[in-house]
Symmetry: C2
């Protein structure tokens, strides 16, 4: 699996929980982070380079653990490697469509928060419409959420003021029945997002994120688990293209467990 | 001149004002932005690659228009190219030391705001101490200022709350006599920074930034201006490594004038 930086670790955290007996290799292309503000060609080039490295390292399936890369580079990565490739957008779209299809089916509005790149790609509206074209999708780019989360300001007055600025018009105008956290960083702020959404709408709105949905999709792809499903200690291997030291602290925070080893790799080519 | 992205345009803006008859080539390495959160080796590698491109393009002097690159890569760039190289830290240090040296010389405390990388490098404390070792420097990384400025949120409640969080302990504990905006993005927020500093200190504190100081240093390096100093229209050439479209709007905002042409270059190597 790969991401531009740490965000995809929220997906790894879900994979470790759902698939405790599988071995994961996580690459964060931290020398080139972030991808969310970059153009499609650049994101495709970076994604294909990392994906080739994963295949060369022996991976038998690839998870694109980044919404922006899922939006822009899924086809390019599939064309470049011979192993199965899973993105983090399609599984969430499937889950949301299923949740809103259960009777009563009057709930039709989905709100999506994401980076500027993911929103501009229209990947979520497209993925949702492909499954159920009666769903109506509304989007809002939230570029400050990523730096806020990386700064560790995930709760309190400042994140709340920023979340309110982004969410207020989106929720008030569209009164959505589902809210997708369309960036792997955003689950780290889910408490403040849920609280602000409740304050604006006067009711709870279900939040959907990539981790669990992607873990389910990967489990299905990898086939039936071994009968011995006793959990083992998480042991994902972590590699980054920038300084491993800068990655250690924030990785522990995202994974919710101590991280003591991060390797440096050079993909500059 | 080069920067990881748009920040250096506040320096270009000063250069265009002070040196209206010189021709500038500005490269923003937007495919790899930001550098402020990356490690020294990465910043050096990127800086040298861009500097070589500038020399190949015919530049007769190079301005490293990025504080993080100035902190980490000045020696590496000087070693890699044969033209004179100016950074954006030394000129500010000279200016601050001169301002605080004028009698009465009891004012000895300097506060520096910068990216995590610039602060960790101790480039400002070192540059100031090299000029006047009686100056006492205090630093604070402000990682949210860059995304705030790029989002265009340069004034109002959210930037003020964030500025207050960063500035309050720094200013209250050290009561500085000069405040250095040690990142080329920060001048875009100088109004809110000055207002918050005044509210905390109960007095004005002089702000120093890279633009004017660097322009003076470059003018000195390039020698006496031509006798015909009639201003001409600014005509810097702008090149970026990511999508030029994403750069146009924000470049106009930073330069304070319309920008209609941005070229794409590939430095991926």
């Amino acid at each position: 699996m790969f991401d531009s930086g740490v965000g995809g670790l929220t997906v790894l955290r879900a994979l470790e929980r759902h698939l405790p007996r599988d071995a994961f290799l996580y690459v964060g292309d931290t020398a080139r982070v972030p991808w969310g503000t970059k153009g499609p060609d650049t994101v495709q080039r970076y994604s294909v380079r990392v994906a080739r490295h994963l295949v060369d390292s022996g991976c038998r399936a690839i998870v694109i653990a980044c919404n922006t890369a899922s939006a822009f580079a899924l086809e390019a990565v599939r064309a470049a490697v011979s192993v199965p490739v899973i993105d983090v957008i399609t599984p969430v779209a499937v889950e949301v469509a299923r949740a809103l299809a259960a009777p009563p089916a009057s709930a039709r509005h989905v709100a999506v928060l994401g980076t500027r790149g993911t929103v501009a790609s229209h990947a979520y509206p497209r993925a949702l419409a492909a499954i159920d074209n009666t769903l109506i999708t509304h989007q809002r780019p939230c570029p400050l959420f990523v730096p806020l989360v990386e700064e560790g300001w995930v709760d309190g007055a400042v994140p709340e003021a920023i979340a309110r600025t982004y969410l207020d018009p989106l929720l008030r105008e569209n009164s959505p029945d589902a809210l997708i956290l369309g960036c792997t960083h955003y689950p780290m702020m889910s408490a403040v997002i849920a609280r602000v959404a409740r304050a604006i709408l006067g009711r709870d709105v279900p939040l959907f994120e990539s981790g669990d949905a992607t873990a389910n999709a990967l489990a299905e792809l990898l086939g039936a688990p071994s009968p011995d499903t006793r959990p083992v200690a998480p042991s994902a291997r972590l590699q980054v293209t920038d300084s491993p030291e800068l990655f250690l602290d924030i990785a522990s925070r995202f994974l919710g467990r101590p991280v003591d080893t991060v390797e440096h790799i050079d993909l500059a080519g």
